[in-house]
Subunit: 407 residues, 2 copies
Amino acid sequence: MGEKISVRSFFYHRNNLYCERVKVNEIAKKIGTPLYLYSKNSICNQYKSFKEAFSPLSPLICYSLKANSNLSLLKILKNLGAGADIVSLGELFLALKAGIKPEKIVFAGVGKKEEEIQEAIRKNVYLFNVESSSELRLINKIAVQFKKKVNCNLRINPDIDPGTHQYVATGKKESKFGIAWDKAIEIFKNNALPQIKILGFHVHLGSQILFPEVYESAIKKVLETVKKEKIKLAVFDLGGGFPIEYEKSVPPIKNFARAIIPLLKELKIKIIFEPGRYIIGNSSILVTKILYLKRDFVIVDAGLNDLLRPSLYGAYHRIVPLRKSLEKTFVGNVVGPICESGDFLGKKRRLPVSLKEGDFLAIKGSGAYGFSMSSNYNTRLKLPEILVSKNRYKIIRKREKYEDIIK
Amino acid sequence: MGEKISVRSFFYHRNNLYCERVKVNEIAKKIGTPLYLYSKNSICNQYKSFKEAFSPLSPLICYSLKANSNLSLLKILKNLGAGADIVSLGELFLALKAGIKPEKIVFAGVGKKEEEIQEAIRKNVYLFNVESSSELRLINKIAVQFKKKVNCNLRINPDIDPGTHQYVATGKKESKFGIAWDKAIEIFKNNALPQIKILGFHVHLGSQILFPEVYESAIKKVLETVKKEKIKLAVFDLGGGFPIEYEKSVPPIKNFARAIIPLLKELKIKIIFEPGRYIIGNSSILVTKILYLKRDFVIVDAGLNDLLRPSLYGAYHRIVPLRKSLEKTFVGNVVGPICESGDFLGKKRRLPVSLKEGDFLAIKGSGAYGFSMSSNYNTRLKLPEILVSKNRYKIIRKREKYEDIIK
């Protein structure tokens, strides 16, 4: 296993927040805020725990780049053996640049453009997760030009409600994703497109799925149909959606493995998983400075352009001071500097009364869909990203400059 | 008035959508989609109609850069005589670069950073709209260093419900904006900060305010208090919030002027307005291509990373084909390529059944909070912006390149 698990990722020591062996406060002062801070230890641990939990299936673990596609982080994951789940040409470039081999790359998405399909075929990605028969025909047309056989999985819409936010529930019948059951079976059985090799099915049910039973019932649904229809699968891609702790605790990954493995082990087919949030979500904090205290508002220098999740999904992120205090607390709203009432990071949070202007806060769980969804709204600069490994840290993305955005 | 009003901005001619005298289809084919397209004529007309409506007050019209801060558009507005409402250092740079004089720039925002205040004082902006007494003290401290007197308006929180989306209602008591009435009056009367010159008040009630009465009651509330407290205002900044037509028609700007002017005309003080959306909102369309038709989904190449408003606010934008059809229609969901169910541009829209993959659509009213809120989510490139003026068009922002985002 190489590294020891015992290194801690984010923790208080003598009331100061540390990332591994570095005091977060020192980084904040040196680099300036706001900034995204990542723990290499956490990334490695999360990846390894996932791999270990599902080891009886020896799955291909394709890290989902949409969660966070920083090149330095991708290189860490590549070195751990990860493949890539990509959804755009940009993500293809990044995955390849990180050194991830094409045979470990799967290409998903409802809106693949012709030039994206061309480039992915040119680069020999392993598999397309296909969302419609139009798309299948387009891939075939391009594959003919390249004189290549192309592997495809049909993304099926299992019509299962994962009990999650409507914006991230992707496996329901009324969602834009996937191919309806009967249609998928018909395509699978009667595929006559000469350059298309249909390997199996892809299912992605949503994000932050809290119940292993959701996976269980989706898999059973697929396997029963496969049996009934006498279809032979070579690959089954189960997508991602494994939860992490934001506010409340979630079942450990082992519980999901325990529900999933028995259903798939005997099939002896290739299993693919696409975790993103599970690996990177809690491997990062967003460090921000208190600019002003006003009434019950704690106005900080990070806003919805830096971290959109609270505004877009009503997502909860824990907010803690870099300097822990055991004093009395008050209930405040942590809000950003953007000129919108929707610009908040946390509502009604308990914070120490000793907090003052100039102090720092950490917004936890900001690794997934944090930087990746950030914008220049209010003509603000995109944040720097810092990676900590043991007692060292390095800048893995520089703070944007005004020249970059005023071009 | 210079230009003739009779040039039309967006309209169908022989069933093809035009922007002024240019066929939108030709631009889409030449530049590629998605793209933002602006009509200079529309921008000028909106600015002029605003100026004309309020001419009895001879107000300073400070265009609100947060709506859209493209430099070429700012230069058009500068040439029409506009000032600037800015909320960040980036917006200050852009306003000055566009040639807007510092004496026409007002600096707002709840989270002004020390270095932003420094730069704004160094550049002699006309006025700070101040959000708290901490901020006032910070401005004074910096002004002392610069040995300058600094003009400030106190942003008051009039506690008025504008009847709009909770995310854009900014004048309510429980919002993070402004200073409470009693506190503002106390500061105004007893200001002892040597470098601070308090000129008056700033009120901004929210966005898309549909009823002139909302402004009327806010202004009355201010004027009554001013009278009662024997305060002498030199400046009154009424902010923005004037509505444009997205789905349903809205009262014309003249109606707002008719409600506002009589209350302020006799005061003979300087009036400031900060329109943003009113000027740029309907001066642009987002042009997008249909990638796939699937069930009742129209999957296009623009997504929530390009236009966030539908997902973030549930905002309605009209969607029309570039080639008008008088045939039968169907009801479809126009969705983007992003891997989220929240990635939609329009739900349950009536569109011609003749639409096919490869056809183009225009998302209307995309000029304000369109490009300015866009991101690189899913490692997608930010869109190009094209400005049409009569029979010519030019690229006023190039499509981003992968090199730009993979640095």
